[in-house]
């Protein structure tokens, strides 16, 4: 039976993992590769590294970190931030990443999803999308870019469908209103998108309790749940989350 995935997200700034609330007030937590290694051994199924300042500083993703991660981590990992072209994707994949997450770039230039899928296969192409509630849009959610700073005239569900058509092999759906707040995932939009696209949806933004993960993996129809604060603050280990999910009847991998 296909298992539900627990994904740990590491936002990296100045070579350190950082964590903010609603994309602000970040604090530094530690070395990304060391942290990632520990998470992979304690039961994380997958990891995501976001180089969160690469875009703003107009520099490519930190390939040395990607390489170091690949030498030390033997579970799948995605990288994002600072990807400007198919050539940048290629460099990240050759450095050892399994998937590349495209966010603002894909909104600005949707063809990059198709180009990436053609060059590397759609399994390597993750659409990262940040959404915010806005009743003016058909799905009630609007796409925002540039780390939450830039609202787009783009409906969340419409964009998800279009991106999958173009070549996205997976969608990491991050709800900005709930990010870092630890009060639960944004269930409505997660379920709506998961039911209407043919690729897996990773729920992101808002996990604080294991019940939040359990809800989004069942009612929310997500294939995977992404966590950051929950494990970075040592409130939970990945193993503890897995044990509790299993107790809720959710099929997960025990490390």
């Amino acid at each position: 039976m296909l298992l539900k995935r627990l994904i740990v997200c590491l936002d990296v700034r100045n070579k350190k993992v950082t964590k903010g609330v609603r994309f602000r007030d970040n604090i530094d937590l530690g070395d990304p590769v060391e942290m990632a290694k520990n998470y992979s051994l304690s039961g994380a199924d997958e990891l995501v590294f976001y180089d969160i300042t690469a875009s703003a500083e107009n520099r490519p993703i930190d390939l040395e970190m990607v390489r170091r991660a690949a030498e030390n981590i033997f579970i799948p990992f995605t990288v994002g931030g600072g990807i400007r072209s198919v050539e940048d994707m290629r460099a990240a994949l050759l450095a050892g990443a399994d998937k590349v997450s495209l966010n603002s770039l894909a909104v600005r230039r949707p063809e990059v999803l198709a180009e990436g899928a053609r060059a590397f296969g759609r399994q390597c192409v993750v659409l990262g999308m940040d959404v915010r509630k806005n009743p003016d849009f058909p799905s009630q959610y609007q796409v925002v870019t540039c780390g939450g700073r830039h609202p787009e005239n783009l409906d969340a569900l419409e964009w998800a469908r279009q991106a999958v058509e173009l070549g996205a092999g997976e969608i990491c759906l991050n709800a900005i209103d709930t990010d870092g707040v630890c009060a639960g995932y944004e269930m409505t939009i997660t379920r709506l998108i998961a039911q209407n696209v043919s690729v897996p949806v990773i729920a992101s933004g808002g996990a604080g309790e294991v019940s939040h993960l359990a809800d989004v993996l069942t009612t929310g129809k997500a294939s995977a749940a992404l966590v950051a604060s929950m494990v970075h603050t040592n409130r939970f280990t990945c193993a503890e989350i897995k044990v509790q999910l299993a107790a809720c009847g959710i099929p997960v991998r025990m490390a």
Partner: protein, 209 residues
């Protein structure tokens, strides 16, 4: 020395890093000549059947693998590398493949629109037969999969592991003499994936089977 066959399809970094992490001397072989003297062969793969087979033939890896089969040299095939062992694939229309293991590669097809294809993520593998590469790995262990096509092997005796996805059982591990083939990616499958790779490095193929 371990030759990782580089036939131009997909990214081989993670396979090489995983083998190196285990202390193996693993190198990327760009043609059959450079792979000929290796003690063991890894036939990896991400990509499509047509471009994969074209790359394999252009580099004469078809001959190399046939020779390795005859010589009893241990060969580990992963994902597309596994699928290319069968007679043919339905991907890209019809692609004649290596024919080491009888069977056909078919596309996943589900009536339920909520079932995602590709089959992506961790799934469990049940052992159908004993094998030296299963040492220390319990039946039911989860491994990491990413694929839209699956191996429909003709002979049950070639199937040593199977997996269920959305109600469909498929052969996730095939083995024949000195060949061992996994649909999942051991190099991305954490501790048990690494254990399987270690078992491959330690595998002494006996003449009896």
């Amino acid at each position: 020395m371990i030759a990782i066959l580089d036939y131009g399809a997909g990214n081989l970094t993670s396979v090489q890093l995983a083998l190196s992490h285990l202390g193996a001397d693993a190198f990327l072989a760009a043609d059959a000549t450079s792979a000929a003297n290796a003690d063991r062969i890894v036939f990896p793969g991400v990509g499509s059947a047509a471009s994969g087979m074209a790359g394999v033939k252009a580099r004469h890896f078809d001959r190399l693998l046939a020779d390795a089969f005859e010589a009893g040299k241990p060969v580990l095939c992963v994902c597309l590398g596994m699928q290319m062992l069968l007679d043919s694939s339905e991907e890209d229309g019809f692609v004649a493949s290596l024919g080491v293991i009888p069977g056909v590669v078919r596309k996943f097809s589900f009536a339920d629109p909520e079932v995602k294809v590709p089959h992506m993520g961790w799934n469990t593998v049940e052992h159908d037969a004993k094998h030296p590469l299963w040492r220390g790995i319990p039946s039911g262990t989860a491994f990491y999969f990413v694929h839209s096509y699956f191996a429909d092997a003709s002979n049950a005796s070639d199937v040593v592991g199977s997996t269920e996805y959305a109600g469909k059982q498929f052969a996730s591990v095939l083995a024949k003499r000195n060949f061992f083939a996994t649909q999942f990616h051991p190099e991305r499958s954490g501790v048990f994936g690494m254990k399987l790779l270690k078992n491959f490095l330690d595998w002494e193929v006996s003449s009896c089977c």
